[in-house]
């Protein structure tokens, strides 16, 4: 793995000791953190280390909603994917949109397709579905008919 990427991995472990890192291959790392730390780790990676948020994926799994934030370290081509788990009966997580504008549309899409509430988002309203789409139907949830 590239040295810059290894260096960043060590810094993450030092600053966020609760993080669990899984290395899939040379350029793909998956880091699980508790959901309360998502704002701090996003700030650290984007503002201090200059990583770019490519996109965030929301998945409906048996254990809860998983959100994966895919950060790209463009100098080395490595993806640092931050995973958080949110309980289904309380789908709230802090929004990272105040840190940078790119996150606004990304979180709006997850809100309308999965029903996850992002606390602190400046403009949380549906992005892609039509105006007459029923507000409590979330197409990407497993129980959607």
């Amino acid at each position: 793995m590239n040295e810059l990427a290894v260096k960043l991995q060590d810094e993450i472990l030092k600053k966020f000791p609760k993080a669990k890192i899984f290395k899939h291959n040379e350029r793909r790392l998956y880091i699980t953190v508790p959901k309360e730390q998502i704002y701090d780790i996003t700030y650290f990676l984007h503002k201090e280390k200059g990583l770019r948020l490519s996109i965030a994926t929301g998945i409906d799994t048996r254990e809860g909603f998983e959100i994966l934030y895919h950060f790209s370290q463009d100098k080395t081509g490595t993806f640092f994917t931050i995973k958080v788990l949110i309980p289904k009966d309380n789908p709230n997580v802090q929004s990272v949109a105040p840190i940078f504008k790119a996150a606004e549309w990304i979180e709006r899409e997850m809100y309308e397709l999965l029903g996850i509430n992002f606390i602190g988002h400046p403009n949380l309203k549906p992005l892609l579905t039509s105006d007459d789409w029923p507000p409590d139907k979330y197409p990407l949830r497993r129980d959607y008919e």
Partner: protein, 138 residues
Amino acid sequence: MKDIRLWGLKKSPWVFHVAAASCNNCDIEILAALTPRFDVERFGILLVGSPRHADALLVTGVINRKTLPRVIKVYEQTPKPCLVIGVGACSCSTHMFEDSYNVVGPYDKYIPVDVYIPGCPPKPEAIILGMVKALQKL
């Protein structure tokens, strides 16, 4: 009176292009039909900026919930008689988007379609042939 209108339409049909949730490929092939290799302008076919000036509607895409009211409005604004030509597999049937939650097409559920041009995307030659068939129908 009707014959004069039809004669005008037949000799030089002005088309308005309506794209409702398409992948854009059919739209590109429609524009490619205007470029020098195929050059439909020599037949008098012109792309206009408003449905009120149009004689024919070239419709593409599967319709989704957001564009449906607008498609119907555009059809109502077009002066009759007008031809509706469905370009591409998406406008003929819902193609592979049948299971989607947002797709409500195809076009002939809402507006009468005169000619279907299948293909994904249909080549510009096929689009020209389709237009010729539509004009012969009149």
